[in-house]
Point group: D2
Chain length 335, copies 4
C-alpha cells in the first residue's frame, strides 16, 4: 500500500497516519523524493483502505500487490517524463536516441561525435569514462578528467551526457558533469550504489542484469525511488542464455512488459543486445517497433580503431541510415 502525503501536512498528521498504519500491523517506510512524500506500507492483513484514505494529510492511497511499489503502474497511472533541461526530455511521447562511443578517448573524438549528433538532431551522448572490465589488466577508461573534458564540449553544444557510474565514491565528483547516471548490468543488484543514487537529484538509467528478471529490474528501480529519486529510466540490454551466436539474447519481450508494469520510460540497448555490428540496425528497428521510448547506440567515427570493443559499434554513415529508418518505423507504429 502506498500513501501519498499532502505537501503541507503537519508532523502531527503524519504521526497519526504512522500510528494508524502500525495499528493494522503494517510496516511503513517514509519516502521523501525531490517531488513528493510517501509512506510505503508493507503487510499482510486485510483491512478497509478507505479508513486510512480519509485521514488528514492523505493526498492519495492505493493498494499495490506487486513486490515493487512506487515504480508500479498499479500506483501511478500517468507516464513519468524525465526532464533533462534545455528542452531535452525522456518520456513516452518521443523516441530518445542516446548515441556515442563505448569509451571516451580524446577531445577530437568527442568533437567529432558531437558534430555527428548535432547534424542528426540527437541531444543525448553516451560514452564511458569508468569501464567495467572482466580482466583487471584492461583499460578502465579516462576517469574524471575525461568526463570533465567531455562535459565542457557537450555543454557548449547543448548536448546532454549519459555515462556509467560504478561506485558510490564516484557520484559526488561526477555529478556536476553528468545528465544521466547509468548503472551497468554488473551492478544491477549493487544495492548500496542504488541507495546512493536515490539521494541524488539526477536521472538514473538502470540496465537489466545479465541474469536479472524483469521483476528484479523493477525492484532495483524501487531502491532508487524509495531513497528519494523519482527520475528513473529502465533499460533492456539482453540476458545471458545458452545461445552463442550473439553476445547476449536481447529480450524484446521485456519492452512491452516493462511498459505495462511501470510508469517509467523504457529504453533499449540493441548494440549490446546482439553485440554484432552488422545486425545492430535490425535489432534497433525491432526495439522501436516493440515500443521502446529510446535507444542507446554505440557509434564511432572509425569503429575499427575504437579504444575498446568496437565489435558492436556503428560508424557514422551506418548510424545515419539507421536514424532515418528509426523515424519511419516509429511513425508506422504510432500511426
Amino acid at each position: 500500500m502506498i500513501i501519498q502525503l499532502k505537501p503541507g501536512l503537519t508532523e502531527k498528521e503524519k504521526s497519526a497516519l504512522l500510528e494508524a498504519v502500525a495499528h493494522i500491523g503494517y510496516k511503513a517506510s517514509e519516502v521523501q523524493t525531490q517531488f513528493r512524500q510517501y509512506l510505503v506500507c508493507v503487510g499482510k492483513t486485510e483491512f478497509d483502505i478507505r479508513r486510512l484514505g480519509t485521514m488528514p494529510g492523505v493526498d492519495d492511497i492505493h493498494r499495490v500487490s506487486d513486490p515493487y511499489k512506487l515504480v508500479s503502474r498499479k500506483w501511478r497511472v500517468e507516464d513519468t517524463a524525465i526532464d533533462l533541461g534545455d528542452g531535452v526530455v525522456v518520456d513516452r511521447q518521443r523516441l530518445s536516441i542516446m548515441a556515442g562511443p563505448c569509451s571516451i578517448e580524446s577531445e577530437e573524438q568527442v568533437e567529432k561525435t558531437v558534430e555527428h549528433l548535432l547534424k542528426n538532431g540527437i541531444r543525448i551522448m553516451r560514452g564511458g569514462v569508468y569501464k567495467p572490465r572482466s580482466s583487471p589488466y584492461s583499460f578502465r577508461g579516462l576517469g574524471l578528467e575525461g568526463l570533465k573534458m567531455w562535459s565542457a564540449i557537450a555543454k557548449r553544444n547543448g548536448i546532454k551526457i549519459i555515462t556509467e557510474v560504478m561506485h558510490t565514491e564516484q557520484i559526488e565528483a561526477m555529478e556536476p558533469y553528468v545528465d544521466i547516471f547509468q548503472v551497468g548490468a554488473r551492478n544491477a543488484q549493487n544495492f548500496n550504489l542504488l541507495d546512493a543514487l536515490g539521494e541524488v537529484d539526477k536521472p538514473v538509467l538502470l540496465k537489466r542484469g545479465m541474469s536479472g528478471t524483469i521483476e528484479e529490474l523493477l525492484q532495483a528501480a524501487e531502491y532508487v525511488f524509495s531513497n528519494g529519486n523519482e527520475k528513473i529510466i529502465l533499460c533492456e540490454r539482453g540476458i545471458r542464455t545458452f545461445e552463442t551466436a550473439s553476445r547476449n539474447t536481447f529480450d524484446i519481450n521485456a519492452i512491452p512488459i516493462l511498459k505495462e508494469k511501470s510508469h517509467l520510460p523504457v529504453v533499449a540497448d540493441p548494440s549490446h543486445g546482439i553485440g554484432v555490428r552488422r545486425f545492430v540496425a535490425d535489432i534497433a528497428l525491432a526495439c522501436v517497433a516493440a515500443g521502446a521510448d529510446g535507444l542507446l547506440l554505440e557509434v564511432h567515427e572509425t569503429p575499427e580503431k575504437a579504444a575498446s570493443d568496437g565489435q558492436q559499434t556503428l560508424n557514422f554513415q551506418e548510424a545515419e541510415r539507421l536514424y532515418r529508418k528509426v523515424e519511419a518505423v516509429r511513425k508506422a507504429v504510432v500511426g
Copy 2:
C-alpha cells in the same frame, strides 16, 4: 565441400568424381532433391578445389566451413523461394502471414477464419490437428478427419494450409491435404521425422527447439535437404530461459542471424514467442522490423472460447489492426 552435379551427368562421370573425392580422404554423401543432385563431402585434408571443379559432370563446387552445408549461405548466394502454387510464395520479397487458430475445432470455425483471411488478403492458414501436449490426458486434436474437412474448405477458397506433423506415420495420409508441414519445437531434433520429411515434395517449416541453438536449427534443415527436399522454411519461436514474465524468451537476434547464415526464408512466431495476447502485436511488429519474411499468428473469432490455450490468441479485430501496422512497418524498413 559441396559439388553440384550437372543434370545430365553419366554414371561413369559420377563414379570418377566419387573416386576422386575418396582419393583425397573425404566422405561423400549423394543427395538427390526434387531439383538437383549434389555430393556433400566431409573431410579435413587441404587440397586444391580446382582439381575437382574441372572434372566432367561438375556444375558448381564450393567449400563450406559451416557444420551445415546445403542450407548454408556459403553454398548458395541467391535466396530460396518456396512456391506453394496459385501465386502463393514464401520468400524474401514479401511478408507471408500465416494466421489461424491453435486447434482446428469445427467447420464453422474454419469457415469464419477463412473469411477473415480472405478479407485481409492472407493466403496461408495455420491450425493444429495433431497437438503435442505435455499431459497425456489433454485433448490431442481432431486428427486426419479434421484435416480433411479443413482442407476441403481451404481449397475451395484458394487458401493454403500449414499444420504440424508429429510422427512419420502421419506423413503419407496428411500429404494430400497439407501445403506446408510444420515441425514443432519438441520435435526439433527428431531426426527420423526430419529424414522422412526430406523424402516428401512438400514444403517443411522447422521451428527452433526450446533449447535449440541457431546452429542446431540449421542442422535440422540440413537433415531435410540432404534427404531430398529443398523446400524449407526456418522459424524462430522463442527459447527457454530463466525469465518467467513471458512464456518464452523470443530471440529476436535469431532473425537477422539466420537470414545471413542461410538462403532459406525465415519466419517468426510471435504468438508463442511471448505467449501473452496483449503483447503479441508489439512482438509481431518487432519481427517485421528485424527482417522476418513471414509471421505465424494465432487468431480466433473468440479466443476466450478456443478449444485450446487461447492465452496468446488475437481476436479478428486485434489481428486486423496488426495487419495494417505490419504493412506500414514493412514499408518503413524496406524503404
Copy 3:
C-alpha cells in the same frame, strides 16, 4: 484423482464408476498396464472422494494434485522396482551400474566390454546402435544387425542390455534383443514414441530433455505409464545453460527432487552430465552421494580410438577405480 480398479471387477461395475465420474464433471482415462487397471480422472470441482471410494470394483482411490498422476509419489507410496530377470533389478535398494561404450562397434569390442563388466560384477551394459546425430553426415550406428550381435554375446554372459530407441518403427524389431529401451534427451517430448513404448512390456529409461524441466520429465513418464507400461526409470543427464566449461550443466538437485516426487527409480548419467573424461568420476561419486539409484557410465577399452565421441569415456582402469569408490561412498551415505 486416480482410481485403482479391483482385478476382477465387472463391466457393469466399471460402467457405474465411469458414470459416477462423469457425473461430478471429471474426464476419465482408462489405463490398463501389465499389472493393473486404473481410471485417471481429471477435473476441477470439489467433491467427497469417499463417495466414489466405497463403490464396488474400487481397490484404491487418491487425489493427486500434481500435473502427472500415476508416476506421482502422491499416488504410490512404495518404491517401484524394475525386475530385468536373472536376478537383475533396478530399484532403490541397490546401485545399478550400466556401463559400456557410446557406440557398439564390433564383436571384439563387445566381448572385451562384457569381460570388463563380469570382472566387476556389473550386470547391465549400455551401448548405442541407433545414434542421434546433429549432422546428417555422421555415423549413425550399426543398427539392428549390431544389436543382434551384441545381444547374443550379452545373453550368453547373463548381461542385460540398455540401448536407445529413436523411432516407433524400430521398437518391434528391437524388442527381442533389448532389456531396457532408452529414450534420449532429444526425444524427451516425442510423445508418439512415448505412447508406443507404453504398449511394450519392457522397461523404459527416460532421459531428461536438454531444456526439460523436472516436471516435464515426470509428464513424459506419465505418457508411458498411462499407455500401459509401469516399468519406467528416470534419468538426469544435465541441462543446457550458459556455462561452456562443461558440455552440460549436470543438475544434481534433480536427483533428490525426483526421488521425492515419484516412486520410480532415479539414475544419473555423469558421463554426459559433464562431458569431460577426467571429471566424470567426481560427478559420478556426487550422484551416488546425492542418492542416485544407478549410474550410466561410458567405458571403452581405448576411448581414444572409440568410433564416436570418446571425450567423456573412461578406460577400463579408470572405471574400476571409480567402481570401488562408488561402493565406498554408497556405504557412507546409506550408513
Copy 4:
C-alpha cells in the same frame, strides 16, 4: 606471462625488467601482495621466455594462456592454503565446514550456534550482518553493532567469522571483527569492491554470480589477487536456469573444474544451491564427493523462527546427522 620477482631485487633490476617487457611489446602490471611481488605481463607477440628468465631479480617466470593469470594453476602448481590463525586453515588437505544462520539476530542466537559448532568440532561460523535484499523494504541485518557483538562471543570461543561485505565503505570498520570477507553473488562483478578487498590482508571468499561463468569467477579472483591479496577462497553456490523446482541450479561440475583451473581452495554452498531444506544434506554430500574443500551451511536452532529466509536452513539435529555423513563420505572419496 607472470614474472615472480626476487624478494630483495633492486629498483634498477626492476627497471631493467620493465624495459625488457616493454621492448617485446607487452604491458606489465606491478603486483605487490602480502607475500610476494610480481609483474603480470599481457601481450601477443611470440618470444623466447628464457631471455627474460635469466635476468637478475627474476625468481620464476611462466607463460599463462588463461584470461586470469595469478590465480591460474598454470602459474602455481602447489595448492594455496589460507591460514586463519589458531590452527584454523582452509585448504585442500581438510574439509572446512562454515556453519551458522542466515542473519545474526541476537546474543542468545549466537551463543547457541557457537555451542553447536564447538560440540561438533567446527571452527568457522557464517552469518549475515549486512544482507542484500531484492526489496528495499526488507530487513537488512544488524550491521556493525551486530558484528561486534558476534565477534566478541566468537573470539572468546576460538571461533572464526565469515560474513558478507557489500560495500567498500564497510571494509575498514568490519576488518577487526572479520576473519573471512564474503562477496555475495550479486556483487560477483562489483569490480570496485574486489579492488578494495585486494588491499586488505584478510581472506576473501568469492561467490560465483547468478549468471557468472566459471571463468568470470576466476577473473574476479584475479582482481583481488592483483590488487595485493593472495588469500582467496572460491565458492560455487548455484546458477540461474529455467528450472523452478529448486531455487538455483547447483553446478556440481564447477567443483572439479575450478580445482583443476586454479590453485585456490574451492568450497560449496549447498544451502543456496538447492534452496530447499529437506534436500540440503543430499547436495552437501554430493559436494564432498565431488571434491569440495569446504561447505557453507545454514543452520539455526529453530529455522521456522529465523529472522530471514529459513527455507534452506537446517536445525541443529539435521546438521549433526549431516556432519557425520560428511566425514564418512570424505573418507570414502579420499580413501
